[in-house]
């Protein structure tokens, strides 16, 4: 009965990520898409915040958003998704919580 959380806001200018990390359960998934993928950028303040409690949840990111922003994700444990994989993930989790 785990939840898939979808984040899309800039981690620098919105509190979406911070709020989500407070209420994510063990085994939940977090999908970063849109500007939320900036939290994967090495050396950013957001990346520190994101990776501090990474043992509790599974981390995913929409590949097209990572690629568009030229973010190097080789140092982070994150699964990149195309749209078919994104859809499959929504089926796997019991519910989807889109933080908008």
């Amino acid at each position: 009965m785990t939840t898939l959380h979808i984040l899309n806001a800039s981690p620098s200018t919105a509190t979406q990520l911070k709020s989500c990390l407070r209420v994510v359960s063990i085994g939940d998934g977090i999908v970063l898409c849109g500007e939320a993928v900036q939290a994967l950028r090495p050396g950013s303040a957001a990346a520190e915040q994101l990776l501090a409690c990474q043992q509790t949840y599974h981390l995913y990111a929409l590949q097209e958003d990572v690629q568009a922003r030229a973010i190097d994700t080789t140092m982070v444990s994150v699964t990149l998704l195309d749209y078919p994989a994104f859809v499959a993930l929504c089926v796997d989790y019991a519910r989807v919580n889109s933080w908008t």
Partner: protein, 119 residues
């Protein structure tokens, strides 16, 4: 059995119509007798604060809509305690009875519903 919805309302009552539009989702569920609860989080907790005066901005009073919720069969209101604290509202009077939840209780709450709608 009807599927249940947890509505997470994160917008201030002063941020245009976003909070009112979130609340309308709850009222619509009530009209169809569907199980729905509301969790107020982030700036959404400001919707619960008593003694506010929307008329000072010639604005409709959202708390009237809130107070209509029980008539629509929506009895369960929750509020994120840490969001109240952060805003200096830990001890404030709320317009409605809302159960104050810590982070772990919120995690538990989310797992109890078929759908989560965050607005």
């Amino acid at each position: 059995m009807a599927k249940s919805v947890l509505l997470i309302s994160r917008q201030a009552p002063w941020a245009g119509i976003a909070a009112a539009e979130a609340l309308d989702i709850a009222l619509a569920a009530g009209a169809f007798d569907l199980p729905l609860s509301i969790l107020f989080m982030d700036d959404g907790v400001l919707q619960l604060l008593d003694q506010q005066q929307p008329l000072a901005l010639q604005q409709k009073d959202l708390s009237a809509n809130l107070q209509a919720l029980p008539m629509f069969g929506i009895e369960q209101l929750y509020v994120a305690q840490h969001c109240l604290t952060e805003r200096g509202l830990a001890e404030s009077t709320l317009v409605m009875t809302a159960e104050r939840l810590d982070d772990q209780q919120i995690q538990q709450l989310i797992r109890e519903y078929d759908y989560v709608v965050t607005l």
